[in-house]
């Protein structure tokens, strides 16, 4: 029982890292209906920019602030050069555009900042902590706390500020929002910038765990089952989906893995997501707008 609980808690904590990545997707999908394949590349770009600036001698807060400025600039450029020319196109067109964008962002990040692996020390030791006889990772706990803070901040942003309310209006009914005079382009700029900052937080945590390197952009692929399970349009769903994916793949690896050769975490989440698709095609919290064949 102790082992089961430890595995479960470890999985749940690791799952919050997936949630962080998925939240960046949800933000953009809600506001513009764009499935942003480039979120992983943005995450890599954000983490790489931060690490490079930090290594160049900027202090931690200064590097953080500078990276946020860079991400806002990137959001403005993406909105101007990618989204605005493609406004009103089909979802698949925009998806393809973000697929191309992901290669551009990856190319630019590696061209400017190199392809070597950077280590990132956030000052959190990855040591086991014992609480009530159960062992779990201190780093995972801090990551989970960060995710909780981030979600709280986002919830405040969406519910208490004028920007947030107009953002929800756009997500709810784009035409109605437009007719009320909400500047859609501005909303896209803001939402891509916020998604970039969420990517920065996620990238820093993932980067501290496995080094800031090219493979960071692949965590985007793990966010997809999270989105399927939680729904594309719900931040709460992204959290729940991340927790479910994290917990179930850790449990599956521990209890199912030994019977079929182990190392099943790379694919388990996708099969779980397919199973979820059969039961709840719109995800746990998503809107029921899925196209049926």
């Amino acid at each position: 029982m102790g082992l089961f609980l430890e595995t479960l808690i470890g999985g749940l904590l690791a799952g919050t890292m997936y949630s962080l990545v998925a939240i960046g997707f949800v933000l953009i999908y809600k506001a513009s209906g764009v499935f942003n394949y480039a979120q992983g590349s943005l995450l890599l770009f954000a983490a790489l920019t931060f690490v490079t600036l930090h290594e160049k001698g900027l202090s931690f807060p200064a590097a953080l602030a500078a990276t946020v400025v860079v991400l806002i600039a990137a959001a403005l450029l993406i909105e101007r050069w990618v989204l605005r020319p493609l406004a009103n196109r089909t979802q698949i067109t925009l998806f393809m555009a973000t697929l191309g964008l992901s290669f551009v962002v990856e190319g630019i990040s590696q061209g400017l900042m190199g392809a070597e692996v950077h280590s990132l020390d956030l000052g959190i030791d990855d040591v086991p902590v014992f609480i009530g006889g159960l062992m779990f990772s201190q780093f995972d706990a801090v990551a989970a706390a960060t995710a909780a803070v981030l979600v709280t901040v986002l919830a405040l942003l969406f519910n208490k500020t004028r920007i947030g309310v107009s953002l929800r209006a756009v997500a709810d009914d784009t035409r109605a929002a437009l007719s009320l005079g909400i500047n859609l382009n501005r909303i896209w700029q803001i939402v891509w910038a916020v998604a970039g900052v969420v990517g920065l937080v996620a990238g820093m945590l993932w980067g501290a765990r496995q080094g800031v390197q090219f493979s960071l952009s692949f965590v985007v692929l793990k966010a997809l089952p999270v989105l399927i399970i939680g729904g594309f349009t719900s931040i709460g769903g992204a959290i729940a989906g991340g927790l479910i994916v994290g917990a179930s793949e850790t449990l599956a690896e521990a209890y199912l893995g030994p019977y079929i050769g182990g190392g099943i975490t790379p694919w388990f989440a996708y099969f779980l997501a397919i199973a979820f698709l059969y039961v709840r095609p719109a995800g746990l919290f998503g809107e029921r707008t899925i196209d049926r064949v």
Binding site: Q91, I228, G263, I274, L277, I290, V293
Partner: protein, 185 residues
């Protein structure tokens, strides 16, 4: 833009004036261009291309075009987003390899054909959820295929014939100018 502004030739009325009724052409396929290209590629290329051009540009170009054709069927015609088509490429390659190694009596073209059929069967299996859902949601199916197949081919040594490198390669068929390699990775 200027092409859009100028009226198409058929609407100028010029052909009617000259008493030449415009020929009605319903999507006539022009085969000459592709045919010439095919002949050039089959006859001319092997005589002029060197090893670098074949192995670094032309053969990868053909391989990528073929996988692009498969993706076009899936995404282009049916609108199903796939980001894991390479997994099915791997099935075809590994299946052909397994046939070559374990059923040596089969000639190479038969092995390749059977390998394609096996890949199709695996694709059918992973295509089952597409009966219920489509669009972005199907991307997860393609990723499931991609990562699961990758795991299968690296986890079970049977597939790479217990080699130490974990990759497969077949000897090049003799007397062919075109390079055929099943080398994966």
């Amino acid at each position: 833009m200027s092409q859009l502004l100028a009226p198409p030739a058929d609407f100028t009325g010029l052909s009617a004036l000259l008493n030449h009724p415009a020929p009605i052409v319903l999507h006539q396929r022009r085969w000459h261009g592709p045919l010439v290209a095919l002949v050039l590629a089959a006859v001319l290329l092997p005589t002029v291309a060197n090893e670098y051009w074949l192995s670094a540009i032309l053969v990868p170009f053909l391989i990528l075009s073929l996988s692009g054709l498969g993706l076009n069927l899936l995404t282009g015609y049916t609108g199903q987003t796939s980001v894991g088509s390479a997994g099915f490429m791997a099935v075809g390659a590994f299946a052909t390899y397994a046939l070559l190694v374990r059923v040596p009596v089969l000639p190479l073209p038969v092995s390749i054909l059977l390998g394609g059929l096996i890949a199709a069967a695996v694709g059918l299996l992973f295509g089952v959820p597409s009966g219920r859902i489509k669009g972005f949601y199907l991307m997860v199916t393609s990723l499931a295929a991609q990562f699961f197949l990758e795991w299968v081919f690296s986890k079970f040594p049977w597939f790479y014939n217990y080699g130490s490198s974990g990759t497969i390669s077949t000897p090049q068929p003799a007397n062919t100018a075109w390079c055929w390699s099943l080398c994966w990775h």
